[in-house]
């Protein structure tokens, strides 16, 4: 298969397949969770905390003050990677162009050099996260195959995207095809690995905040 044919396949049928698996998988996982239900809490809630679940969805994105001093590296790497990843995903001009074409929604892009730098930072953070996972006793202890696979699945699009933009390592067309394929792989596995936290964390935070709010605990 020529580079171009691969690219065309990735853009066409490949994307279709990936999106189908992704959507079905996500729905399945959500059904898995919600079908279990939650018993109604019969105790009288403390007043004025009905929004605690929603609030926690946002507030839990902030670092915990008391933990920050204990485990700064985890926070630093975590934020750098996540913010970088989302900037690269959402504010890189060609990506926005793609969104405009497919879902009809667009927004202003950030300057390419900025996105470029941020992507590099994100890659470095992700590399450090892997190193830290291997080095840190608790993280190493907790880690399973899923953690390393998810790491690779996340690193692939970032790295291939960066290399493609800079015409490094492989011919541009091939690298772009690889980039798109790696995104598709990420989509396919997202519902079935810990990458599913991208969705489920909102549900978890809501349940957590709602339970704490019920008791009037500050969040």
């Amino acid at each position: 298969m020529s580079d171009m044919a691969l690219l065309l396949w990735a853009r066409g049928p490949g994307l279709q397949i990936a999106l189908t698996v992704f959507i079905i998988g996500m729905l399945l996982k959500l059904f898995e969770i919600f079908s279990l239900g939650r018993k109604k809490d019969l105790s009288t809630p403390r007043p004025g905390k009905a929004w605690s679940g929603w609030k926690t969805i946002f507030s839990r994105s902030l670092p915990d003050r008391t933990l920050l001093k204990r485990t700064f590296p985890t926070y630093l790497m975590g934020y750098t990677f996540h913010i970088g990843f989302f900037i690269a995903l959402l504010f890189f001009a060609p990506h926005i162009e793609l969104f405009r074409k497919t879902v009809g929604l667009g927004w202003p892009a950030l300057p390419t050099t900025l996105v470029d730098g941020v992507t590099l930072l994100s890659i470095v953070a992700l590399l450090l996260m892997l190193g830290y996972r291997l080095y840190h006793p608790v993280k190493r202890f907790l880690s399973t195959f899923d953690d390393y696979a998810s790491w690779a699945l996340t690193m692939a699009p970032l790295l291939s995207g960066y290399l493609a933009v800079h015409h490094l390592l492989l011919p541009y067309t091939l690298m772009l095809a690889i980039h798109i394929l790696s995104v598709e792989l990420l989509l396919v596995f997202m519902p079935f690995t810990k990458l599913f936290h991208t969705v489920s964390l909102f549900i978890s935070r809501w349940y957590n905040g709602d339970a704490l709010g019920h008791k009037g605990a500050r969040l």
Binding site: L42, S43, L201, Y207, K215, A217
Partner: protein
């Protein structure tokens, strides 16, 4: 598969709900919860990572509640939970978790780990892997009606003792009063002056109250061990007594776990809301203060610090109240590092203080409390939980610290305005 293991796994299945499924799905193995748990921070041992304490429950979830897990088990793959594993996990689920709730506050994806550990205990107990100390407490609850084996006679002796001490009559089984006072086992056994202090405060504030000869104790070992039947029995006793006496409010003892059991778990255990309200004694005292019905005089100039019981602050929302009360009677109140919401556990909550085999570990993790106390330079520590207090006193003793302890209700009572109190 043994019958007891099957019972345990069934209990796991029973507690499985959408929040737990969501929590297991969300964990990214970042390890942050470990840094929030005193059992990890003080030992450095990764096995005390909160989320790891749930491994058997997670395995069951994976196998039976996820599509991939179900597929894997069909072809004979995937992990199963064994009896040996549950036994191995007992020290993690009981000895090294006080249900303090710190992990729940910090998990970035929002996992309520404490909730899951509490639920997991149901399966552990059903499988026969609850620690002996808690099993004993539950046995005493069934046979004698009290986790510490306190009989009515012993309670009444304390009531009479406090009547003599204060010269105030303590009403017993008086119907139609506003408030019913319940104590924790530890208060009845070790700190009866709590009752005398309340009597003095209530006389000044003009509160109509009573104690009950049917339900005088709220410590709920059923919840700590994870056996709902026993938990329900203990709660029902309080509910029946309160509804028979027709009181408007039940005053929960200072003890945080007793409060949680009565306030939050109780209605769910008996399957309906109460006909009365449960108030924590600190909420009531602070309300009396606001209403001007609690009048004190003078302030101690001794340096005081405050230990926040986990179940009262983190899982009960009572943070400002004890501070208002302490500031009312003390001029040199010093906060610990990480106060209030983030305070560190005494190390003995959630039933841990009843587990004899866990004592060494408990003293080890007390070091964080020791550092907190020493950091304030205060010679006296106030707390609002007799169980915390007992555990703290043992810790202070173990480390030969000369910090004095006092219950917050007693502290306030000591400063009651004389003409009203004498």
């Amino acid at each position: 598969m043994s019958a007891s293991l099957e019972r345990g796994l069934n209990a796991f299945r029973e507690v499985m709900d959408a929040p737990i499924a969501s929590f297991f799905n969300s964990c990214v193995h970042c390890g942050l919860c470990a840094d929030a748990c005193l059992f990890h921070t003080e030992t450095g041992d990764p096995k005390y990572t909160p989320i790891h304490k749930l491994e058997p429950l997670r395995k069951l979830w994976k196998r039976e509640y996820t599509v991939l897990g179900k597929l894997a088990s069909l072809v004979g793959l995937g992990e199963t939970v064994s009896d040996v594993e549950l036994e191995e996990w007992s020290p993690l689920v009981y000895d090294s978790c006080t249900l303090c709730g710190r992990c729940t506050l910090v998990c970035p994806v929002g996992n309520d780990i404490t909730y899951m550990i509490r639920k997991m205990r149901e399966g552990m107990a059903a499988a026969g892997h609850a620690p002996a100390g808690l099993v004993e407490a539950s046995r005493r609850t069934i046979e004698l009606g009290s986790p510490m084996g306190i009989k009515l006679k012993a309670f009444m002796a304390q009531v009479h003792g406090q009547e003599e001490e204060t010269g105030i009559e303590i009403p017993v089984d008086k119907a139609g009063t506003d408030y019913l006072v319940i104590m924790s086992s530890m208060e009845i056994l070790g700190y009866p002056e709590y009752l005398g202090s309340l009597a003095r405060i209530f006389r000044q504030a003009g509160i109509s109250w009573t104690v009950s000869s049917e339900a005088f104790e709220a410590t709920n070992s059923g919840i700590q061990i994870g056996v709902s039947d026993i938990a329900r029995q203990i709660v029902s006793r309080v509910v029946d007594a309160a509804e028979q006496l027709g009181v408007k409010y039940v005053i929960s003892p200072e003890c945080g776990h007793a409060f949680s059991a009565l306030r939050w778990e109780g209605p769910n255990l008996i399957g309906r809301p109460y006909k009365f309200e449960v108030v924590h004694v600190l909420e009531l005292l602070d309300q009396l203060r606001k209403d001007g019905r609690l009048k004190t005089e003078g302030k101690t100039d001794k340096a005081l610090t405050l230990h926040d019981p986990c179940q009262i602050v983190r899982r009960g929302g009572i943070v400002a109240e004890p501070r208002n009360l302490v500031n009312m009677v003390a001029s040199d109140f010093r906060e610990m590092e990480d106060p209030g919401m983030y305070n560190w556990c005494c190390g003995g909550g959630g039933g841990v203080s009843a587990i004899t085999g866990a004592e060494e570990l408990r003293f080890k993790v007390f070091r964080i409390k020791k550092r907190q106390i020493e950091g304030t330079g205060a010679g006296t520590m106030v707390t609002a939980c007799a169980n915390c207090r007992n555990v703290l006193e043992e810790g202070l003793e173990h480390y030969k610290m000369d910090t004095r302890m006092i219950g917050i209700t007693e502290l306030v009572a000591e400063h009651l305005k004389q003409e009203d109190a004498s």
